[in-house]
Amino acid sequence: MIVKSVIDGFKKGLETTWMLAKIIVPVFFVVTFLQYTPILGWVAELFKPVMALFNLPGEAAIILVLGNFLNIYAAIGAIKAVDLSALEITTLSMMLSFSHSQLVETAVAKKLGISGFKVVFIRVSLAVVSGIIIGRMGILL
């Protein structure tokens, strides 16, 4: 019985790893390539003022977009590909843990009878507030 559970769990772990590898690897390749083109620089420049709120570089916007529209795995692929400090990674992780996979998770929450607007509003607000606090906290440290 225990053996069966362990084997089932291991299989699920492998399946999940495979599923996330299919997301992380392409994202990682694309972001790495983008770093050698001017595109990432343009995006970074464009989002610099917004990301400055969270004490993050402009490139971080890409990570937030990937995390919110796709999922945490895609965001993690991008976090690894972009060069970030430990504090920047923590700030991004905090924001993403409140607000990620919006398309899928909002749909699930709607099934439970809460409005989609409220779901997105609560999660994005928490992400923004926690991002500002943790980003600023780093300046103090």
């Binding site: 362990v6 993690i76 690894k80 843990s97 409140f98 439970l112 009878g113 609560i122």
Partner: protein, 165 residues
């Protein structure tokens, strides 16, 4: 060009590897918890959840399942409990608010730890935020029927953001 390819290949392999060594043990532990219905037996010690938010005793299991296994899995349990008539609309609303803020805490937190984030901070802030938000809402929502409340709030929404909930 070859350098970039090599960098991307190595980097993505490392990312997947660092996540695999976290995900696989988590999945094994979660499978054991599911197969042995650990959570069903653990609702007792966690009944403080229903006391804090003044929800029914039956709401404890959906809270636990969602917090540990994630939103989709939690939703399945919530829908099942609701069908059996164990959850009021108020319970349902509060559980959902808590879980959209804080779910799959071990998996999510450790994934971010794998790329270098501070896990204690993530876990602490996320759990605290979910508790505070749900607690505040639980105080505001005294009546059993949330749909009535939603109708009232629909009007307030236009006037004051604080009144949304």
């Amino acid at each position: 060009m070859m350098d970039i390819l090599k960098e991307a290949a190595l980097g993505s392999f490392n990312s997947v590897y660092s996540i695999a060594i976290i995900i696989i043990p988590i999945m094994i532990v979660m499978q054991l918890m599911k197969d042995y219905q650990v959570l069903d037996k653990a609702t007792g010690p966690f009944s403080f959840l229903s006391k804090i938010f003044n929800t029914s005793q039956e709401s404890v299991l959906p809270f636990l399942v969602g917090i540990i296994f994630g939103l989709s899995y939690g939703a399945g349990v919530i829908i099942q409990s609701a069908k059996e008539g164990n959850l009021s609309k108020r319970d349902l609303f509060l559980i959902t608010v808590f879980l959209i803020t804080c779910h799959a805490v071990f998996e999510d937190t450790l994934l971010f730890v794998a790329v270098g984030a501070n896990g204690w901070l993530l876990l602490g802030v996320r759990t605290l935020a979910a508790f505070l938000l749900t607690y505040i809402l639980s105080k505001r929502i005294k009546i059993e029927d949330v749909s009535k409340l939603e109708a009232e709030d629909g009007q307030e929404l236009c006037h004051n953001h604080k009144q949304i909930f």
